[in-house]
Symmetry: C2
Subunit: 196 residues, 2 copies
């Protein structure tokens, strides 16, 4: 059955998982402690033994989500052909950012950042962002860009062109649109760099 400490940790994780589910789908206000309890197969009492208040649970959950939400499309950059590497990264990046999980996280952060700005920093402090470092390295070493941060920023912005539409439920791009966007955005950035 496992030792006591293991069981306690498992219960803690169960609660955090249920809370993640609830908070992501309902937002902080509308999230329901009774539902979180029943989702995690635990009594409300027990929830409150682990987390003293809804706010505390929320804060811990955001940190938890931050730790879980790793995605590495960085591996695509290992491709020997530079252009192909960028293209594959671009497509992976676009697709991942249009999935439900990251969209719901963004929705939650946007909704709550107004009243409690610190949760955003809480989240990003827990979320390991090596993507930026990898990108910077690629742009400066394999492309020879001196100050790559601007190019990267513009590129990334273009790659997220469809995200707001999806976030607002106005429609999803299909595979062709995604591929096309990856190509166009990458072309613009590369052309700009090779210009002078």
């Amino acid at each position: 059955m496992g030792t006591m400490e293991e069981r306690k940790e498992a219960k803690r994780v169960a609660i955090l998982d249920a809370a993640r589910e609830e908070f992501l789908s309902a937002g902080f206000e509308a999230a329901n402690m009774d539902r979180i309890a029943s989702l995690s197969n635990v009594t409300k009492q027990t929830v409150y033994r682990y987390f003293p208040s809804k706010t505390d649970l929320f804060e811990a959950t955001v940190r938890w989500i931050g730790q879980m939400s790793g995605a590495d499309f960085s591996r695509h950059l290992d491709h020997p052909d530079t252009n192909e590497a960028l293209l594959r990264f671009a497509e992976g990046f676009i697709r991942w950012h249009l999935e439900d999980e990251p969209l719901n996280i963004l929705r939650l952060l946007v909704a709550e950042s107004g009243k409690s700005p610190e949760i955003v920093t809480t989240f990003f402090a827990a979320a390991p962002d090596e993507t930026n470092a990898v990108l910077t390295k690629f742009f400066s070493e394999r492309l020879g860009v001196e100050h790559p941060s601007e190019s990267i920023r513009l590129w990334i912005s273009m790659l997220l062109a469809y995200r707001e539409d999806v976030l607002l439920g106005l429609g999803r791009p299909g595979d062709p649109e995604i591929a096309q966007l990856a190509v166009s955005a990458t072309r613009l950035v590369l052309a700009d760099h090779q210009r002078e």
Copy 2:
């Protein structure tokens, strides 16, 4: 003092304005009907005489916000010099989208689109978007782009590069960053068009 119909309309507007204030700053869930009533100098009873429920009031308010939220930086496109026209439009566009009002509207729409997707369409149905038409015209007539929608999409995406940071409270760009962004984004799009 005005006729009856005028007074009723004025009261309706007062309520909608108060509701706009409240919903934009608190979100739907946390918005308080008593506060809306007192903000509009009207009794809760009267609020309910005009709008049968909180949900109804919310829906009407979103439509109302949609009608009010016009911004025309399109005039910048009248400048005789093509490049200058694009640059001025770009800066105006960036600045406007970083103001509180549009950011709060976006926050509200993002937060509620999850549970009630129809409010997004409600909003955009009421919001007159001539900007896109003007841009399309400019890109095809003065720049000679055949299928301008893709160029426009990429350009706009780049111009909104800082918006998410501001929306999440992670920091605002200063004047130099904004000017720089306008220049870079415009340069990339123009270069891509003149390429072939």
